[in-house]
């Protein structure tokens, strides 16, 4: 134990030494620059703005310094630091910050106690100290421009794009009340009480007037989404609490910025000029800025959604469009002096469902990951730089009274505000927010980089005590992020706050959820009262009629066939797990032994319907050439990002009741295509075989000798019993797929596959599947398709099923029939041994039957 700790300590130290070296390198590079030509370099790692300023100077530099007009000889290499200086520093700093995160995550014992954001800030202190030591001045700090234009937008875009829409909109009222009224309350009370204390003489003499105090109150009341996400992601509180805190912090930023601008204007106007008219203008501008920004965001969301309808041919950069347009919505709002944060928030929230439907699945994944990388990256940088910026002698003006009182008021008024607003909200909420949740909500009011950015934006000419405010803001940020961040987890545990429940919803849950919604709607109708959801009902109607038509590809529906979507995702998960499990136990290379038919099958199906086939067997079989592992990983990759959405699909696809106030678009109103396309066809087939696999263990163990009985009869029977439907076979209709030529019935094809799979297990891997399944349960009712194919078919399913699960992976919750799951694994192991001998014997026979 001790040794392990020591080891991780060593790793930590090593990493840290590396970091320190990097910083020293950066500063020495910097120092050289300063000595060299005393050009004021960009203050910031990502100072793209200063990068542009700097280009002109560096071009000059290069002409005088590095490329002298007269050269005596041709230089082979030259030292061109000035060419790349700014981007180089930016890149180095990004690297450094990310390495910091790496260092933080090295030791999980630490991160479980200490929130990562706090750790990053502390590492920032150390880095800042090194820079200070080398430069004797803080040459790097977080510049508001960089923060607001290059770091913040992607964080907000990511947060809003990944926002759980349903939760967000169903709690929108509460969120808005907290974000608008709560923020105004905080700003006003903190400002006024600080001013009152100042007048009362608690802070000595300061050159701050009432309006400046109000301005300070406004900027300090910004609950920071970055800090909140960082802390709350580690404590898994229940989703309502999470969305309240998170949604509030997101919208509240916008509100704060607006308030800040209004008060900033007031400060510039100066006290005497402010009359009633100006105040009314201020209030009007507050609403115009906030709602205008939100409206602009919605406009951009519409643009993005419409654009994604036609980007099919440039799929590679599809995801980029969203990022760029989202960023533009931010900048446009900024240009029009509307609330940029609100703009990008609403842009992300509103467009998500349409673009997810319009874009290719891969692009959605790309977008999701890209945003995550960008957001996480800049979040890391923000925290590190919050630390680095602190190591600066110039900004520290100490005033004990001011600082302590600020912290006190910020916390106290946050609590009062949250409790009061929640009390009001609880009067009409169906599920009241309970007291512990309220407490956590209030405690989760972390201040962060937005407050710091706003403080750094203050104009020293107008506010002489800017540095005091900046310093105080930093202290409030440290106080909330580090202290409250650390105590949040124990507090949540101590208060026994309801944690997030495992969202592992089952088909059962989905179906019943929808049933409950219908029941409630019906009851509301019977009571004759308008339910809660008048607005959402009408919005849904409107959306179905007009919005979807405009914003969504008409064939978006086709690609996401209703209930199959859910089924498909669940099955895909199963398939992935299945294959992964299988791989642990042995190679899948035995599949190679099989002949060209399967290759063709793979080619045709894998290419065209790659996203359809999902039944474990089929996927194993599909990978019938040496590229097995590649395909598996392909599947892996595909399925993982959708794990989350898988469970929501049923929600979206069952008939909506009005109760369901999720304003996601409804796909119900599209008609399924009249002639089911191939995808659906294959899907049905795989579904059916799955169902057989569920049912078959109930049938008891069938003697092995029956396995290969009358194969031809079986197939012909099927052929006769089920007239070949030319339409159905169309996916296989081409000559290059041999089986299809022989037996047109789709059921027959499925049968072949099953048998082949049985076969493969015999050939390759240990086969624990041939377990005597002793089951005393009453004989099951055969599903229609089984009975329709006659007696032979009644035998077949069980062997198929047994064949289908060669390894019986233990964690295949969905895949494995109930009976299999509940069996002890011991029996599988023992059965394995005895059955292995049987397997090879039957192999030739089966070969025969199949081919």
């Amino acid at each position: 134990m001790f040794f392990a700790q020591q080891k991780s300590m060593m790793a930590f130290l090593q990493q840290f030494a590396l970091l320190a070296l990097l910083i020293v390198f950066i500063t020495s590079c910097k120092a050289e620059t300063l000595e060299g030509d005393s050009v004021e370099v960009g203050h910031n790692y990502s100072s793209k703005s200063s990068a542009t300023e700097h280009t002109s100077t560096s071009i000059n530099d290069s002409t005088d310094g590095h490329a002298p007009s007269e050269i005596s000889t041709l230089p082979i290499v030259t030292w061109k630091w000035h060419h790349i200086e700014t981007p180089y520093l930016v890149a180095l700093w990004i690297l450094t910050c990310w390495l910091c995160k790496l260092v933080c995550e090295l030791n999980h014992n630490v991160t479980s106690v200490f929130p990562e954001s706090g750790l990053l800030i502390i590492l920032g202190f150390i880095l800042g100290g090194i820079v200070w030591g080398a430069d004797k001045a803080q040459t790097f700090k977080l510049i508001p421009t960089n923060f607001f234009y290059y770091l913040l937008p992607q964080i907000i875009l990511d947060a809003s794009y990944c926002m759980p829409n349903k939760l967000f909109f169903s709690n929108l009222g509460a969120i808005l009340i907290h974000a608008i009224i709560g923020t105004c309350w905080n700003a006003a009370t903190v400002g006024i009480s600080l001013w009152a204390c100042y007048e009362g003489g608690a802070m000595g003499t300061l050159n701050i007037g009432f309006l400046q105090f109000m301005l300070f109150g406004a900027l300090i009341s910004a609950v920071d989404p970055v800090a909140v996400i960082a802390v709350f992601e580690e404590v898994h509180v229940n989703e309502v609490l999470y969305i309240l805190v998170f949604g509030e912090s997101l919208l509240n930023d916008g509100v704060t910025v607006v308030l800040y601008n209004v008060f900033d204007a007031f400060v510039s106007l100066g006290g005497p000029k402010i009359n009633a008219a100006e105040i009314i203008k201020g209030i009007v501008s507050f609403f115009v800025v906030a709602f205008g920004g939100s409206f602009l965001g919605v406009v951009f969301a519409i643009l993005i959604s419409m654009l994604t309808r036609i980007t099919k041919n440039v799929q590679v950069i599809e995801a980029g469009f969203i990022i760029v347009l989202g960023y533009l919505s931010y900048l446009t709002a900024e240009m029009l002096s509307l609330s940029a944060i609100l703009s990008i928030t609403f842009c992300g929230v509103c467009c998500q469902k349409y673009i997810n439907a319009n874009m290719d699945e891969k692009s959605v994944t790309t977008l999701r990951y890209t945003l995550k990388v960008m957001a996480n990256g800049s979040e890391t940088m923000i925290f590190v730089f919050l630390g680095v910026s602190a190591i600066d002698k110039n900004i520290w003006v100490w005033n004990t009274g001011f600082i302590l009182l600020t912290i006190l008021f910020v916390v106290v008024f946050r609590f009062i505000g949250v409790f009061f607003l929640n009390w009001v909200l609880n009067q009409s909420r169906l599920i009241p927010i309970d007291i512990t949740d309220q407490f956590v909500m209030a405690y989760g009011g972390l201040r962060g980089a937005v407050a710091y950015g706003l403080a750094a934006l203050l104009d020293e000419k107008k506010i002489p005590e800017k540095n005091l405010m900046l310093g105080t803001t930093l202290i409030v940020v440290y106080f909330t992020v580090i202290l409250q961040g650390i105590t949040m987890k124990p507090l949540v545990q101590w208060l026994k706050v309801k944690k997030a429940t495992n969202s592992d919803l089952t088909l059962n849950g989905k179906m019943n959820n929808r049933a409950f919604e219908h029941i409630l709607t019906a009851m509301e109708d019977i009571c004759g009262r308008m339910g809660d959801n008048w607005w959402t009902r009408h919005w849904k109607y409107f959306e179905d009629r007009h919005v979807c038509w405009l914003l969504m590809k008409s064939d978006a529906k086709k690609h996401r066939d209703p209930i199959f979507g859910a089924f498909h995702k669940l099955n895909l998960e199963d398939a992935t797990k299945y294959v992964t499990e299988g791989e642990c136990k042995g190679s899948l290379s035995f599949i190679r032994n099989y002949e060209s038919t399967s290759v063709d099958f793979k080619k045709k199906l894998a290419l065209q319907y790659a996203d359809i086939d999902n039944v474990p067997v089929t996927s194993v079989m599909k990978n019938s050439i040496p590229s097995v592992s590649l395909d598996i990983h392909e599947q892996d990759r595909k399925s993982t990002p959708d794990d989350l959405s898988a469970h929501h699909l049923l929600d979206q696809h069952l008939y909506k009741s009005r109760r369901n106030n999720c304003p996601t678009y409804s796909r119900n109103h599209y008609n399924t295509s009249e002639n089911p396309d191939e995808m659906q066809e294959i899907f049905q087939r795989t579904m059916r075989s799955r169902t057989e696999s569920f049912n078959s263990p109930k049938m008891g163990f069938n003697p092995v000798k029956k396995l290969s009985k009358h194969p031809n009869k079986d197939s012909t029977h099927k052929l006769n019993g089920k007239p070949a439907d030319p339409h159905r076979t169309h996916p296989y209709g081409d000559g290059d797929f041999e089986i299809s030529a022989a037996s047109a019935s789709s059921g027959e094809i499925a049968g072949h596959f099953h048998r082949r799979s049985t076969n493969t297990h015999g050939a390759g891997v240990d086969n624990p599947a041939f377990i005597p399944e002793i089951d005393t349960s009453p004989p099951m009712r055969n599903p229609p398709w089984q009975t329709e194919t006659g007696n032979n078919a009644a035998v077949a399913p069980s062997q198929r099923a047994q064949g289908r699960m060669p390894w019986t992976p233990t964690n295949l919750r969905h895949l494995a029939p109930q009976r299999m799951r509940t069996r002890s694994t011991d029996s599988i192991v023992t059965a394995d041994a005895s059955l292995d001998e049987k397997a090879p014997e039957e192999k030739p026979g089966k070969h025969h039957t199949r081919l």
Partner: protein
């Protein structure tokens, strides 16, 4: 207040009803008004046709079943008492109300809410949701979007998920277990009945 009392007095057994359902007088009156409005012919009871006249209900995919739930087997009518008691299932659970120790389980308890949902599936009242019964509900809720085969595979999988005793049907106990993680109190409560 006078009119409130006079309305209340017209309802027989109103005290007992309020006790059992936990509704306030205001709720009872509102429901009573609604009851009278539905009872167009003034017979003092409702028939299935009266429910059928509610336009929105006709659009509810499982509306018929819900109407059916109001009528106990064999009966063609529902009186006000039963009407209120059934609606009482959807009253939000109130935590503040003091619990009397030996009082019977309130109508709006979790398991009663679940039982109400369960009996919508279990049309033959044998205490189990059979595959056929599940299929019918699924068909109603999914409609024409899916083929019969798809429906069946979904139904099979659903049963298989919940079925613990391997009898190919979902008993109430299994039904409850399968919904253990779902917050029924929230999903099966109507705000204005609080």
């Amino acid at each position: 207040m006078g009119s409130t009392n006079s309305t209340l007095l017209k309802i027989p057994n109103v005290e007992v009803l309020m006790q059992e359902t936990g509704f306030s007088p205001a709720h009872i009156i509102r429901l009573h008004d609604r009851f009278k409005a539905l009872d167009k012919e003034g017979r003092g009871h409702l028939c299935p046709q009266d429910f059928g006249a509610i336009k929105e209900l006709a659009m509810n995919p499982i509306g018929d079943r819900i109407i059916g739930a109001f009528f106990s087997p064999g009966k063609e009518t529902v009186d006000f008492d039963t009407f209120v008691k059934i609606l009482a299932h959807f009253r939000p659970v109130d935590k503040d109300r003091p619990k009397e120790l030996n009082s019977p389980e309130p109508i709006n308890s979790r398991s009663n809410k679940l039982r109400f949902a369960f009996q919508l599936y279990d049309q033959d009242k044998d205490g189990k949701i059979s595959r056929d019964e599940l299929l019918q509900v699924l068909r109603a809720m999914l409609g024409m979007q899916v083929t019969e085969e798809q429906l069946e595979s979904v139904a099979d999988r659903t049963i298989q998920e919940a079925d613990l005793d391997r009898d190919d049907a979902i008993s109430f106990e299994e039904f409850r277990k399968s919904l253990e993680k779902i917050n029924i109190d929230n999903l099966m409560s109507i705000r204005f009945l609080r």
